[in-house]
Symmetry: C2
Subunit: 111 residues, 2 copies
DNA sequence: ACAATAGGTGACCAAATAGTCACGTGTCAA
DNA sequence: TTGACACGTGACTATTTGGTCACCTATTGT
């Protein structure tokens, strides 16, 4: 019911996260370009990709802009940040960061 | 397949987010206490709540510790932080924060 | 004008998920 | 030790969700 539900539901799918990753790496891609990204990882039709993009747009995680017959897509990080702020307050934020740094350092030593 | 999938799937359910909210507000609650929190909002059996908690534990969003016949639950913010870091780099982080602050200020003026 | 390109819509099916229930285990207190 | 309490497990259904398909609109280039 609340619109944060759209955000979490949108993030629950691996293909949609892959799309966000692609847009995080480079913004402004068209549907066709994103389709190629996805089909490089899994087998999925154009319709599937378009459907996933629509879900991301409705969640406001992706913003799109029409340019001629193409549609360019942009990553909107605001909802992500609000997830963070929901369960991590400013006081613990520093501790968490230190924890993750330690963890990453340890994993780097392993591999 | 990757274990980040567990985290996002876990967050995709409203009841589970409610449980995280409850633990964010106060840590160390038992299953019975959390059951009361949930049934205050929706109608759900004890089994449902226990099942949701297990999903959260498997995603490492909640850590539990047995104490006698009770089981205490604690919120683990690390996976949340890693979601944040996946799509928000350090350079845009400042801009986002400013954006959200402006938005909240505007909404406060409205209501 | 016409073909090719880029994208959109609604219906449909298979697979995953939420929720419940009957039953079982361990723990405390009288 | 007996009963009440706190919690766990596995099976079962109803609903949701992921993905595809046939068909449609709009824009570009020749």
């Amino acid at each position: 019911m609340p619109d944060d539900d759209l955000v979490f539901k949108a993030l629950a799918d691996g293909t949609r996260r892959l799309l966000l990753d692609a847009l995080f790496e480079r913004d402004g891609r068209s549907l066709s370009e994103l389709e190629e990204v996805v089909t490089g990882h899994t087998e999925m039709s154009r319709f599937g990709v378009a459907k996933h993009l629509r879900v991301l747009e409705q969640a406001d995680l992706v913003i799109s802009r029409k340019a001629g017959r193409e549609k360019h897509h942009y990553l909107n990080p605001v909802p992500i940040r609000m997830i963070h702020d929901r369960w991590i307050d400013k006081y613990t934020e520093g501790r968490i960061r230190a924890l993750i740094d330690v963890k990453e350092r340890a994993e780097k030593d392993d591999g």
